[in-house]
Point group: C2
Chain length 415, copies 2
């Protein structure tokens, strides 16, 4: 990290394709030859997808209170796009390894560290550094996986379900008979919200999503509306008395619309600002403009209208505001619901680390239904001509063809 | 109501002191001679306390779905001051009978009205008109009193406990181990908040009140601070991690301070704006200035800080926003807590209808600890020289001396 020039790569990060320096073991386990190195996705500087690449990094070792995890799968979230663009509050200086959650197997344990054993199947929150073969994490952020949970499910679990649970039950106080409106209902948080709502009797879920996703998600919500249509009028037709809880990850004009749709004592929860991301990159000026364009709220208006407005950022809560102490109770409840079969992550697609650019483009284009997973053990799907409609099958081990890839695209392994 | 000139009194409202036209019955029951008339406090126009007087009004009769209540006691709240000043949103045109809550006995029942019988001891929310000998109210707003509850307690119960309960448990989601900061801790809502907090294990209550009230209320809260001191620094010393719930009836600079004191996921609830009331009367310009001086809140800042801001107006909820449907569940829970002895209204003082000006002045001066009650059956306490420290005793039936009262003040019956 001797340089902060985003375009440069330090000596530790010699870029090379994994196929050349790695061995393929049984069960598709791919690992580095040098035990002091690991593969990782690196963000060389803030900007477009060309700032992402797979490199070798020095193997991390666990400090006191940490476990070292051999990563199997990582979650890819919209916030990773915002990190890539530098479109977040106080980002660390690049180069950095992105990613806030992963699943894997405990490989070693730091000094004076209790609660885990080597070989434990775990999922973890991390403050960056998730998109790598190995991650070290403080034990407060690490949770054992239920036996029947797959690594892919575990990588899709932590961030989205904890966020959905806390918003619904700790911020907004969801109870029997209430109504919930969720934007990006087809996304991984949206699907977690819908599932958690179904654990409470008689909750009506209004989902907003692109028309292309309606068939895939219509069973998970009560009513579904087109994000490009006039959802306010549509919702009012069905529920003229308003909505109890509005969960918004978009911001912008949706804040005013959401507040307007609330029932008395209803709560609007802003948990993201993905409308700030329009192009592949974002200038500071545009960010500042988006910020100031957000309508500010007069508390006396809230008083007269009996309304609640809340903001929720799980990453800030966990990593900047001491929220880790709340985590265990929430995760225990969520794992109990998982074991009961009441919640189950919806996986959109699996991608090799080398496919992170395409994966990110898919989130950017809002093409996903459920979670995008970086599967550390997966080899990149062969590039195909862009007019191909063929999809590669699970477990295929094909060499990544070299040469010009400009007119080709990878098709991920779609679950 | 032929005229809307606030200073005029219509033919129905011939002003006269009750002692001249009423008979004193046994047990101090004072009632009008004419069964088609009743005594009531009237607000002739918005402004100072001189706009209030006791007059005769036509006896109301219950409509379908209503009960007619022979009133025993009425609650006096800070919002009544704001009504008097016209300092509320969309007030009705004066002349009007103020008052939003009372207790009494069901005297007759409207057509097709179920759930009550003549003779039932009840308490009721009303949209104005409470400060009178007789009130008619829709049954949704009327609740039977527990046997051991006095009429004075019942008149102190509805508005303050329902507000405190909804703010703590429906808006802010109070749970075990949390901390609550309440402004005006010595007021009737403040005392209800403190009592309800004590029904949840391990809740810390930070009360803010004038120093003169500290002795009276210090057992009801965990920590107490001077409202004129730097409470933010004092609270931070005790609880550097912040507060879970801040309940503010003052507004103004306390909004920013309250938000600043919140823990992550903490909720600031604004339930009044009594800082808007400074003098005895209020110009429109000053009101507008107060409104705009309230700091507006950027939702993205709430997002980054994980904070909740809520407004709560029980009167708007009940009478303008359909909130009556929520009332029964809340009142059932509160009455259960009352019967268990876990909550009990704190009565500051009892006043005759004729003493409403002095009662209002006491609220304005923030002299009360707990609730001020207008006791319909109470005769005015004799006026005394202002240097007198003597307090009249309960049940005294003395004639209100006529003549110059400028240098005299009534001392209420203090419980």
């Amino acid at each position: 990290m001797a340089t902060t020039d985003a375009a440069d790569i330090t000596e530790e990060e010699t870029e090379h394709m994994i196929e050349r320096n790695c061995v393929v073991e049984n069960e598709n386990v791919v690992s580095s030859i040098d035990p002091k190195e690991m593969r990782a996705v690196i963000l060389a500087g803030f900007g477009g997808i060309n700032k992402l690449r797979v490199t070798k990094k020095t193997m991390p070792e666990p400090q006191q209170g940490e476990v070292k995890i051999r990563v199997k799968a990582c979650g890819l979230n919209f916030v990773d796009l915002m990190v890539r663009q530098g479109n977040i509050d106080n980002p660390p200086k690049p180069p950095l390894i992105p990613g806030f959650e992963c699943s894997g197997i405990v490989e070693s344990i730091g000094e004076s560290t209790q609660g885990f054993e080597i070989g434990d199947r775990v999922m973890a929150f991390v403050y960056y550094n998730a998109w790598a073969e190995v991650v070290c994490a403080p034990v407060d952020y690490v949770h054992k996986m239920p036996d029947k949970m797959t690594f892919q499910e575990a990588a899709a679990f932590s961030l989205n379900y904890v966020a959905a649970y806390m918003m619904l039950f700790e911020v907004a106080n969801l109870r029997e008979g209430m109504s919930v409106l969720v934007h990006s209902a087809g996304g991984s948080v949206g699907q977690a919200v819908a599932q958690l709502c179904s654990t409470v009797p008689n909750v009506t879920v209004f989902g907003i999503a692109s028309c292309s996703k309606h068939v895939a998600i219509r069973d998970s919500v009560t009513h579904i509306f087109d994000r490009n249509g006039d959802y306010v009028q549509e919702v009012k037709k069905i529920s003229p008395e308003g909505i109890d809880i509005v969960l918004d990850c978009l911001s912008g004009e949706n804040t005013g619309k959401g507040l307007g749709l609330l029932k008395p004592l209803g709560a609007y929860v802003l948990y993201g600002a993905s409308n700030m991301v329009t192009g592949e990159t974002k200038s500071f000026f545009t960010i500042a403009k988006s910020w100031w364009q957000v309508e500010k709220v007069n508390p006396i208006k809230l008083y007269e209208e009996n309304k609640v407005i809340a903001g929720f950022s799980l990453l800030n809560l966990l990593f900047k505001q001491g929220g880790r102490v709340r985590l265990k109770t929430v995760m225990d409840k969520l794992l109990f619901l998982y074991i009961q079969g009441k919640i189950k992550p919806v996986i959109d697609s699996l991608w090799a680390l080398e496919e992170v650019k395409e994966a990110m483009q898919r989130i950017h284009d809002r093409g996903n239904v459920g979670k995008l997973i970086l599967d550390v053990e997966k080899s990149p799907t062969p590039l195909m001509a862009s007019d191909s409609t063929e999809t590669s099958e699970a477990g295929e081990e094909e060499e990544d063809p070299e040469g010009d890839i400009d007119n080709k695209e990878r098709m991920p392994f779609i679950q």
